[in-house]
């Protein structure tokens, strides 16, 4: 292989070398899309954005993932501590014999080119599908997004966490401006005129940020918080009553605040829509509330990637650090602390949502509309059933948030990169396939009828898989003595009681002769976490005692 001949080539080589596999995966993904197009529609058959096609949605998930991945790659966010005061630009590069201009400029140039190319590739693919998408301004927007992300994340800040807030707010503001421009059908030249000057502005900011970071000029605003910190010091609580409580505190401080913080960041923007849509049809209010209610479980999937990491800042972030591994606690005890932390984290996030929603409804004047829906529900189902249905919906959302936080924990806790990457691959494959398959089922009435007929069997098969996996996990837990016999029996009994309770509630609340009771039973079994959760102590022990 030829060695890089210049700093520019060396920087490019590093990006290419580290992320080649992802680029290949992206190319493979585009090929899969092309294959789907050929297999499902045939050559020359147009695909529309509107139902019943809408297959363009297939592209959105992985495209968004790739977009954010490139944002992280080119801003060096994958390796740095986003919350730190220091710049996340790799310090090792500051000692290279190159100008600050080059350090800031080349990653920005490469990143902007890749982001723009990503959009251009998608737009070309869409044209092949006979979808006319705008080409220039979205490509420019992607480049601008990256450039500002780089500039703002490379900047040193005086407090921890300010970087995240500043970057998110700036990008959100940019997003809002562009959305408004689309809404008001602003012409493409005007859009380009707004976006293009931002690239040099972002570059100048990035250059300033890198120069500052390079000379170690990190502002320190912590003195402003010295007094509150001193007060907190005095009011610090006493000793922990048990190792379990200490570990719960440890997990909370390490991961617990992530989900409430993410939800708190998004809520104001989401609820602001209530003010925009208050005079529009009520369905928009409903959709806004739905988005707000789905925010905690959705954001929990992101927070979960942190929870399963033994130490997000460690060199091998999935491995257990000696400090963690030498806690004199069982692996089950350590998992217990993570689960407890997830409960508090979930409750924290939902407390925010449940306080913010009435506040948003009241201030926006949309409260009567929602009260009207509740009245309608009470009239249709009767007051007790309506209350139970609402409680079921809320509790299932809360439980689902907690589940999102913990149910994939067993994968990350194995500490094996190959396990984690394989699971990502499966998840990506699932995301790619679920859209076309769902669309196929919806489009084809015969297929839809077949799936409906086979639904009990599909659910039964899933229950079978779940129970076999749970039995295997239980057997492993028993033989490895990770859980005592008593805990195993208590856990199994608790799970069965929870399933019966859920089944009873479902059977009572959804009283409909057309829904067979056994179907509700299968749903209750599938809804209650078991195998994956029980596998977490096994995964941690596998990681902890290598």
């Amino acid at each position: 292989m030829r060695s890089p001949q210049s700093p520019a080539q060396a920087i490019a080589w590093e990006f290419r070398r580290r992320h080649l596999r992802v680029l290949i995966a992206l190319a493979g993904y585009l090929l899969v899309l092309a294959a789907i197009k050929l297999l499902m529609r045939g050559l020359g058959q147009p695909i529309t954005l509107e139902p019943p096609d809408g297959r363009v949605g297939v592209a959105l998930g992985p495209l968004s993932v790739t977009f954010f991945y490139f944002l992280a790659v080119f801003s060096f966010g994958l390796a740095g501590d986003l919350a730190a005061r220091q710049s996340i630009y790799p310090a090792r590069m500051f000692t290279l014999p190159v100008t600050t201009r080059a350090l800031a400029g080349w990653p920005m140039l490469y990143g902007s080119a890749v982001m723009a190319s990503l959009w251009l590739g998608m737009a070309l693919l869409a044209r092949w599908w006979d979808l006319a998408l705008p080409v220039i301004w979205p490509a420019l927007l992607a480049a601008v997004f990256l450039a500002w992300t780089q500039a703002l994340t490379w900047m040193p800040y005086g407090w921890r966490g300010v970087r995240v807030v500043v970057t998110v707010l700036w990008l959100a503001a940019l997003d809002v401006i562009v959305l408004l421009a689309i809404h008001f059908k602003v012409s493409e030249p005007l859009m380009i005129g707004f976006l293009a000057p931002q690239l040099p502005l972002a570059y100048l900011t990035a250059r300033f940020a890198v120069a500052r970071a390079r000379r170690g000029d990190i502002p320190d605003w912590r003195g402003m918080r010295a007094r509150p910190a001193a007060i907190a010091q005095v009011s610090q609580p006493g000793h922990f009553p048990s190792p379990a409580r200490a570990q719960l505190w440890f997990e909370w401080r390490r991961h617990g605040r992530t989900l409430p913080a993410l939800v708190a960041l998004l809520l104001p923007f989401e609820l602001a829509f209530l003010f925009l849509v208050r005079h529009d049809p009520p369905v928009l209010i409903f959709e806004t509330l739905l988005v707000v209610l789905l925010t905690p479980p959705f954001m929990a999937t992101f927070a979960a990637t942190m929870v399963s990491r033994a130490n997000p800042h460690a060199r091998d972030s999935y491995g257990v650090t000696p400090f963690d591994a030498t806690r004199p606690m069982t692996s089950a005890g350590l998992i217990g602390a993570k689960l407890g932390m997830a409960i508090w984290s979930t409750l924290g996030a939902w407390l925010l949502v449940l306080v913010a929603i009435p506040l948003g409804l009241k201030l926006s004047g949309t409260w009567p509309t929602v009260i009207g829906w509740v009245d309608w529900l009470a009239r249709v189902f009767g007051t007790p059933r309506a209350i139970v249905i609402l409680l079921l919906v809320f509790s299932s959302l809360i439980v689902s948030t907690w589940k999102q936080l913990v149910h994939s924990m067993y994968i990350g806790l194995t500490g094996r990169v190959w396990v984690i990457r394989t699971s990502w691959l499966f998840a990506l494959a699932f995301i790619i396939m679920i859209g076309p398959v769902a669309q196929w089922i919806i489009d084809d009435r015969a297929v839809a009828a077949g799936v409906w007929t086979a639904l009990p069997w599909i659910l039964a098969a899933l229950v079978g898989v779940k129970m076999i996996a749970a039995a295997w996990v239980a057997q492993r837990l028993y033989s490895s003595r990770l859980l005592s016999d008593r805990m195993l029996v208590t856990g199994a009994a608790g799970w069965m009681v929870a399933v019966l309770l859920l089944y009873g509630l479902l059977a009572w609340a959804f009283f409909a002769p057309l829904i067979p009771r056994y179907l509700l039973g299968l749903v209750a079994i599938l809804a209650m976490p078991l195998a994956r959760l029980s596998a977490a102590p096994l995964a941690l022990a596998w990681n902890r005692h290598r």
């Binding site: 910190a229 010091q233 610090q236 000793h239 922990f240 009553p241 048990s242 190792p243 409580r245 200490a246 505190w249 440890f250 401080r253 390490r254 130490n311 800042h313 460690a314 257990v320 650090t321 000696p322 400090f323 591994a325 030498t326 806690r327 004199p328 606690m329 069982t330 692996s331 003595r481 902890r544 005692h545 290598r546």
Partner: protein, 264 residues
């Protein structure tokens, strides 16, 4: 040195009750590399054991097996007669450990680290912890990540010592400490613990340091124990006329290279 009667540690005939660590025929491979090859050790209670070897010799791998962080592929490891993998609580609650990785949680303050750590050890001595904190000049409100490397090592040492563990395991404890601190703090701590009938196992590639504090030395090279005996016996057996060679010279004689690579 005046501690436990010296015995060749590869001889595992010491009475079980007085043995703290027993390693039998332990082999560990990482891919094609053999990190430990049929290592057998038996460490009686109440002495300071120095585990010496060049970088990559297998010292940390052996210590990780003793702590249960690595599972024995073949052979066995017993600490206080217990399997550290099967019974981590029983073993780890009696061990104080200072990692060479300096991996204390950076977000914690020193007082939070003390408060958190004390919950795990019923024998935690608040007075002793405070004494150590003052002796090590650690500001209780300082965040761990803002401490220097030496201060981090001191903080780690504090939480490893404050419950007066039966077995103290120090993996390259000199890392990050300047020579004066090393001599004054480490030496005093190790002697204190050993004098109280507790056991210390520490690994190092700085042989002069080992010579100063260890009663018993185990040399490890390429995963094999090449020499394991009381320090006095090692010196005596390598005496040439009136001259007693240094541990460094003895190490070179056995391993064929110095434990610390020469400066470039």
């Amino acid at each position: 040195m005046g501690h436990q009667p010296a015995a060749i540690v590869t001889d595992s005939t010491a009475p079980t009750a007085s043995v703290v660590i027993t390693v039998s025929d332990l082999t560990r491979r990482f891919g094609a590399t053999t990190a430990l090859a049929s290592v057998s050790l038996s460490l009686p209670r109440g002495a300071v054991y120095g585990l010496v070897g060049a970088n990559g010799a297998g010292k940390t791998t052996l210590i990780k097996h003793i702590l249960g962080l690595l599972r024995a592929e073949s052979g066995s490891v017993r600490v206080f007669g217990l399997d550290p993998v099967a019974d981590p609580v029983g073993v780890l609650s009696r061990i104080g450990y200072l990692s060479e990785e300096n991996d204390l949680p950076g977000w914690m303050r020193v007082d939070e680290l003390i408060r958190y750590s004390r919950a795990f050890y019923p024998a935690w001595d608040d007075g002793y912890a405070e004494e150590l904190r003052q002796r090590f000049a650690l500001d209780s409100t300082a965040r761990i990540k803002n401490l220097s490397k030496g201060q981090k090592a001191r903080a780690g040492l504090l939480i490893a010592l404050a419950y007066r563990p039966e077995l103290l395991v120090l993996d390259e404890p000199s890392s990050g400490l300047d020579p004066i601190v090393r001599r004054d703090i480490l030496g005093a701590v190790l002697r204190t613990i050993a004098d109280e009938g507790r056991t210390v196992l520490f690994s190092s590639h700085l042989l002069d340091e080992v010579e100063r504090v260890a009663d018993h030395v185990t040399m490890i090279s390429q995963g094999r124990v090449v020499l394991s005996a009381p320090l006095d016996a090692i010196r005596e057996s390598h005496r040439v006329g009136e001259r007693t060679p240094s541990l460094e010279e003895i190490f070179v004689a056995h391993v064929g290279m110095p434990a610390t690579p020469p400066d470039p």
